[in-house]
């Protein structure tokens, strides 16, 4: 059986399955969006008319904005420091050969492998044992561990596909190693660094477990606040919050994927 050339629907069962799974992936997000406009007193699944009241109540919710501030502060500081450390680590691992390099590389992969809960527990026990008071800075310190590991991995994979001759040429032409690094290597690595930072940023913003175990001193990042609200009863303004967060992260995602795409294009 031949289908007409303009047939807009999938032609195979794989195509149909993909369509169904696209619906599966976006369904819950759509549901949240629809309910965020529901004119109900409580969170019900019954449609009771269109309303923007949950957005209004969200914008008057100072707790949410405090929590958002904490989250962004943690993510920005952790990612900023990790972007430097992670890039240094990736370059160092690519450039140097030294005894124990395998162990070093293995350790650098650990944060990607060890489950979050184990990292969280270990960090808590460590901080408690040194009697370091928990604060927003302990969250940042703990987040830096996985942020720098993820950034290093992304940058490493980019480094592997670079032309080493460029840097050598710069060195041969009389540039100092620092100059060669900053003026030749870094610009080439920039897309990977930014992509790694975006990934680390999203992971940091989404982290519940590690933050739960390291938060103190009044710091209360957004995932903790959301978790507490879901456990202790939520107002439907959580739906409104979800929609705004999804829009925001969608934009970050689009940027990230664009950079990844661009990066993979230049690889040839």
């Amino acid at each position: 059986m031949r289908l007409p050339a303009f047939w807009p629907l999938p032609r195979t069962w794989q195509g149909w399955l993909t369509t169904a799974l696209f619906a599966f992936m976006y369904g819950p997000i759509l549901v949240l969006t629809v309910y965020s406009f529901n004119d109900s007193i409580r969170y019900t699944s019954v449609w009771q008319g269109f309303s923007l009241k949950w957005y209004e109540s969200l914008f008057q919710d100072t707790r949410i904005f405090r929590a958002l501030q904490d989250t962004l502060f943690v993510a920005i500081v952790a990612v900023a420091i990790s972007s430097v450390l992670g890039t240094l680590m990736a370059i160092g691992l690519a450039k140097y050969y030294f005894p124990g390099k395998g162990v070093y590389r293995g350790v650098s992969y650990l944060p990607l492998i060890i489950p979050d809960i184990s990292i969280a527990v270990a960090t808590l026990v460590f901080l408690a044992s040194l009697a370091i008071p928990l604060s927003i800075w302990t969250i940042i310190a703990a987040h830096m561990v996985f942020c720098l590991a993820y950034i290093a991995v992304v940058v490493s994979s980019r480094l592997g596909s670079l032309d080493p001759n460029l840097e050598e040429a710069a060195l041969d032409l009389g540039a100092t190693p620092a100059q060669a690094l900053i003026q030749v290597l870094l610009p080439q690595l920039m897309p990977a660094i930014v992509a790694g930072c975006l990934l680390a940023f999203v992971l940091s913003v989404d982290d519940l477990l590690i933050s739960s175990f390291t938060a103190g001193g009044g710091a209360n990042p957004l995932p903790l606040e959301i978790f507490s609200r879901i456990r202790n009863g939520v107002k439907p303004d959580m739906n409104a919050l979800s929609v705004l967060l999804i829009l925001a992260s969608g934009m970050i995602a689009a940027l990230g994927e664009y950079l990844r795409y661009k990066g993979s294009m230049t690889d040839g």
Partner: protein, 316 residues
């Protein structure tokens, strides 16, 4: 251990002392700060929980009962007086969730990745792949929260089932309480990890040599034969890497079992959480369970590294 061309050029023995020193300085500048950070906030803490896991009954404010394997034997040794089968039950449940999720992701993810990599219109491919993994970038808590409203007894899934039963006479589908069941946890976990599986399988299928498929077809192989004898073996490393990634991450997941699972969905990560921030506060036992988890995950990675394909592990 093969040295890359650059490092060969810089063999220490071939360098003069001054250069060697500079070289060392460079390596230290680049590698010492992140290395120290990882040692301080990852390696040392992990060694510390290894140590603490060897002290049965250690709690904040209580000293525990001296050194011993008590915490481990309580979980694993049926001949120990303090043995409680409930811990093995929890570990078993975590493995069950992880296995179920991995299978579901593989069975659904493979056809999708196959379609995206080989059958979708070429110029849409990148866009479609990105679109498929886009939900990953949103808050995992809010995604689980969205499922609550779908799975609750008065929620959308049951409304949909009711509508189907009404629309198709003779078909009676059971409406049931989905939320707070194992099914809810499996659905939530599959939703979370399907995009990872698709992404990894896509990367693997994209590299598939089409000419091999064509050759197989030319030689008279049926599509089924081609699939099982060419496509699958070619993408086996990707499948292994994807399954491992999904298995490990879903086993350690905390949010989905906590929010979607009810009274009977304790998993190992929830149990560990409870030893520290829940009611039990048994830090020794919590550390032991945490070490068990780290060891199990490391073992799986090691097996894959030994028997699997290194590149695909890196990709994951």
């Amino acid at each position: 251990m093969t040295a890359s061309p650059t490092s060969k050029r810089w063999r220490f023995s071939q360098l003069e002392l001054g250069q060697q020193f500079k070289r060392l300085l460079g390596a230290l500048t680049l590698l010492a700060p992140p290395g120290l950070w990882l040692i301080l906030f990852l390696v040392l803490p992990t060694l510390l929980i290894l140590d603490i896991s060897l002290v049965p009954g250690l709690r904040p404010g209580e000293s525990g009962d001296g050194y011993g394997l008590g915490n481990y034997s309580r979980v694993f040794n049926p001949f120990d007086a303090a043995f409680d089968s409930v811990y093995l039950q929890v570990i078993g449940r975590s493995l069950y969730y992880a296995t179920g999720t991995t299978l579901a992701c593989l069975l659904m993810g493979f056809p999708v990745a196959y379609w995206l990599a080989l059958m979708a219109p070429r110029r849409w491919r990148n866009f479609l792949v990105v679109a498929f993994i886009l939900p990953l970038w949103t808050s995992s808590l809010l995604r689980a929260y969205a499922w609550i409203s779908i799975l609750r007894p008065s929620g959308l899934l049951n409304s949909f089932i009711g509508w189907l039963s009404g629309g198709l006479p003779g078909v009676q589908l059971p409406e049931q309480a989905w939320l707070y069941t194992s099914a809810a946890v499996l659905i939530g976990l599959t939703y979370n990890f399907l995009p990872y599986m698709v992404l990894i399988l896509y990367a693997s299928l994209e590299k598939l040599d089409i000419s091999l498929l064509e050759a197989a077809a030319d030689l008279g192989a049926t599509p089924r034969q081609t699939f099982w004898q060419v496509t699958v073996p070619q993408t086996l490393p990707g499948i292994a890497a994807g399954c491992l990634l999904v298995f490990i991450t879903s086993m350690g997941d905390f949010v989905v079992p906590t929010l979607l699972g009810g009274a009977s969905s304790m998993t190992i990560s929830r149990l560990i959480y409870n030893q520290f921030l829940g009611i039990t506060r048994n830090w020794g036992l919590g550390s032991a369970l945490s070490m068990v988890m780290i060891l199990a995950v490391s073992l799986m990675i090691a097996l894959l590294l030994k028997y699997g394909d290194r590149d695909s592990v890196k990709e994951a």
